[in-house]
Symmetry: D2
Subunit: 359 residues, 4 copies
């Protein structure tokens, strides 16, 4: 292991050829700590050169050694202790469980295990301490599964965290205006989405309602206790390529003024400050005072796609406070989120532990 | 007057060359009761042939006599007792007041006078009875001004009306996803709106919050008493040509189930049933049970653009009920709204009264 | 048969549930001569109510009797002598051949048989006389197949026809900017097409190059002799819902001035003038002198979607003449084209002949 | 001057606040040779902080010292010997001439002087030698003006250059599908461009036809002799943010096969190889063999936005060869083009010469 940590740590990517997988590959290709040693995908892709399969993705050119990787099937043993997963939920349920059973640390973007009470659902800046749920997972398998939230929730829960901490969130009503890349490939057809809004994203509103409660929950003797606020969501799809916009109205025990809310967001004490995680943005939350922001095109790439931008903070005659949140769904909301979780696991010694478990 | 009523009633259009004005001209061109006798616009346009000025509008070919009208300036006396206004607010304040002072009945889409306590803000199906506010206006001028709501509010207030009546609206949180035609010409640039969402529409949220309270208010001895609910709004612009989508969460004194809400919407007893107004849709509210509706492209033209489509009616863990509303902003939300108001005025004898007042 | 002609003629629609099929159903629903008696689709759709399958199409409400039709499978005997086909090419090859073998007159939008030397490829205004190729088809089967061109070619060949007749077309270079509805369902994803141009439409350029030569060809003793001009095409897909724009540069034996070209286009003597075909537009070619036209949004619905708009006619220092052509790909280029062909067949007695052949 | 060359060379930017100016500022902010010392704009902007004026541009954060620059008016003396201009043509004609008269070297993206016989129109990789036209300019003023081509022409002429050299271009027919950022601010409205194609870009086709002849021309005793080919263009605007696509059909004296054309493009011997210009892409022309490329979204950022991608090279039955060209209109076609020209001027000693001329 010593040798491994001296050099870049080999990781396997599960689901390397989807839209999120491609971003993950691109982020790993330039990563200071990790290197892709294995890239798995469905049988249809297995055997092909990774670079060929990702040629049409908007990720720029890959280093030659990464492009040259031969994609392997998802089945069979993996040699890397750390596996990053961008699998679809249905496939993830089986493949990730098998990997955890084989002792791997699986850091996953899939929704398959997010709601399980012993599976940490992590935004490092917000609830890094929830990693301790991994202890409870040991009853299930020798390895572990760590997840990140849904692509809307990552931005939303990050923005709610400091407000909840300071003012006690009671209720929130949110409407999301989601980018098409959140639907993966192929996603909605141009025929259906150009000059249009799709008012339904199946399964999405349930995740948006449930996941923030887990993320902002606390860990007690009996495991995780969800935060006791109410949250209702309407999820829509709009003709935007990347960047989910969320319109939020929220009510708090102690009603903040817009200035107090802005101050809480700006001074948010990230739980990973000082850890030196390479993918962490300089500032997790950016408050914009330009009333015409945030906008997907102008703000999705803030902090290398890892920044969450909050704007138009104002009073609201129904719940008290309204604002808009924007984050890049493929980076902060998916590939970057998983990678940051993997970095957190590494500094917490979890990757090393997995390496020791490995055969 | 008798002769006039035998034939089509001559009307003047104030602001005939903007996007709303063009729709109004197109709707009037085929109207069974009214005919455009005068078309006014800014000095820049005055003197030109109406058909030439509207050549680039998406309104199809105009009848030869309408196309041949010479556009007149806004200033100066008008000969038609009934004037339909699609002026910008700033211009409307002066021009409409002068017309009312000269005895005309002005039916306006402009926001200039909407909030005035003696000016009726009418959606005929919802509050035709508010026309009686015209009595109070007589203190100001011999003529009168009748207005229709903002392009988001028309659909929203129509959908809220039967729910308020049946269940007592207390609070609503809404987020609008508005089409670019709502901004008129030129509106947002393609550079700013393609692959983007604009999170601010200046002045819009105030109108969305205020106007439904007036429309659903009641008329007492002291004039109009606004309905006492709270309503907060976030207004966004999306890359859609026509059709505003509104995401609504609402709380009621008597909380309805989704089925009860749908039933109230479907069985809505329009205040103009039986009046035979030519622009009134067969059914003012269409409830869709397709969870992927309403959509701007599929539903904006319902009822000739005058139908309001409500869908995805469901419970909401914060306020109680959530749903989406869609209406065509240029028709139901502007030109068609004004025209329907003019039709209502005619059957109420107000056009005839204006004709008698006229010089 | 007499009785049939008194009432509306029953027709069968092959492939009634695709995007072109839906348009065909909508056009037939209001047709003065024809009525849909049978609607066939793939086994997946068979057994369902036609109205339910078409609920998401942009075709407005269907009459109750049409909506209530039960969709039948493509296999098995059809009772209507006239069948209109909107099948995909691969399916059409088998199903249409069987129908022709069973004596039906098949009027098809599919490309399967377009290139066959004994199959007429018809734009009624241009080459109605090519119907006589049906005589040659009698060697193959008792029925017949009549086709219309590709969705780009209909507009293009219509515009080239009067120019070829008057000036002798020698060469043309065209680039198409095609709408997404031309790709059917699902067509390109929004992820691939928003803020983008797709520079390849597989198989399209070959059709654009070949079909105009057949349409503008002449019938000699040995059958059809293609027109001897050269035509090369580049076909691109742009973020437009309906309406194919074609940029054309053309060289002629007798080089016309732009004015002469405009005059030839405007005075085009349609081959179906006076036949009273209900779907024929008043004028097949509309020449616009507005230099900012034709545009898909403004011109695709000209003539009920059956008009071909030509604009920006100007000299060209390479081939001699350049201009742009626009037509609605789903109407003039597909459903309306097939329907107009069916109307032509009816007035030529071909539907009656098919009825006499039928069992 | 010695001191200046040791450190970064101060440059002035004329028109720093438009869309091209913003890109130029962003590129200069990270430039190894140049630094922005002066930023000028219209009187409306003068006096403001540059960073504030560019806050809404898609250029990412600016270094503090650049953001803090106070924008100056265009009038009045400039202290930097080298001025980079992103002015609109009408303003450029006056301001650039005055600057050249004052001894400055003006490297301009404006079209004002491009067609002047003594003004070099430069794509460094293609015709760096045309800089010698500056000698002829000395008759007009002590300074000099160097221009880069129109945003379509940069990609087009770069692609034509090796083909012309190898095979002798005789004729080309091109249709452009241009991005909205090419129109600057505000550019076409979303209302006009979403779900649409605009078939006219005023003045564009003349530039596309003329400029490649100058760029590929030769310098004789009498000055520049334009290349003697014919070129006709149709310029359209499509709903794309950045990246102009050009469909090209071309005829040559010696007709190349697609393979020979690809080989000539790939092995293109850039005229600036070995000069180490920082903005020059590793390879000026990228030939893609993916038939679904080039695409604006996937290829506009090749080579940092300075690469020209050519694809779908194939035979053409009219002129001989067809292909598509794509380049980023704001970078390769504007800001990057001007900057690369400035770099070329610097290595040719022209900046130093201007510094010596300066007061």
């Amino acid at each position: 292991m010593e040798a491994v940590l001296k050099d870049r740590i080999p990781v396997g990517v599960l689901g390397a050829t989807g839209m999120v997988g491609a971003r993950l590959v691109a982020l790993l290709a330039r990563h200071p700590w990790f290197r892709i040693a294995e890239a798995g995908a469905s049988d249809r892709s297995a055997g092909s050169r990774l670079g060929d399969l990702l040629a049409g993705e908007e990720i720029g050119p890959l280093p030659e050694d990464v492009a040259a990787l031969e994609v392997r099937p998802l089945e069979g043993a993996w040699s890397s202790p750390l596996l990053l997963s961008a699998l679809p939920a249905a496939v993830a349920r089986k493949v990730e469980a098998e990997a955890a059973a084989a002792g791997h640390l699986v850091v996953s973007n899939a929704s398959a295990f997010r709601a399980d009470p012993d599976v940490p659902l992590i935004i490092p800046e917000v609830n890094a301490d929830h990693l301790e749920l991994l202890e409870r997972q040991k009853k299930r398998w020798p390895g572990g599964i760590v997840t990140n939230p849904n692509c809307v929730v990552t931005g939303l829960a990050t923005a709610l965290a400091p407000l909840h901490e300071a003012f006690g969130l009671e209720r929130a009503v949110v409407t999301s205006l989601q980018a098409t890349s959140g639907a993966g490939r192929p996603g909605p057809s141009a025929y259906d989405l150009v000059d249009n809004v799709l008012p339904l994203i199946p399964g999405e509103e349930e995740k948006i309602s449930a996941e923030p409660k887990k993320i902002l929950g606390t860990i007690g003797d009996e495991g995780l206790v969800p935060a006791p606020f109410a949250l209702s969501a309407t999820a829509t799809r709009v003709p935007v390529i990347h960047g989910h916009t969320v319109s939020v109205s929220a009510g708090f025990r102690k009603r903040p003024s817009p200035e107090e809310a802005a101050e809480a967001l700006t001074s948010f004490g990230s739980r990973i400050e000082g850890l030196g995680l390479p993918t962490a943005p300089a500032q997790p939350i950016l408050v914009t005072h330009d009333p015409a922001r945030p906008q997907p095109r102008l703000d999705r790439d803030a902090g290398g796609g890892m920044g969450v931008t909050v704007g138009r903070i104002r009073t609201d005659e129904v719940l008290g406070l309204s604002f808009l949140v924007l984050a890049h769904n493929l980076v902060r909301g998916a590939a970057g989120a998983a990678l940051l979780n993997a970095e957190l696991c590494r500094v917490k010694g979890l990757v090393e532990a997995a390496a020791e478990r490995a055969p």
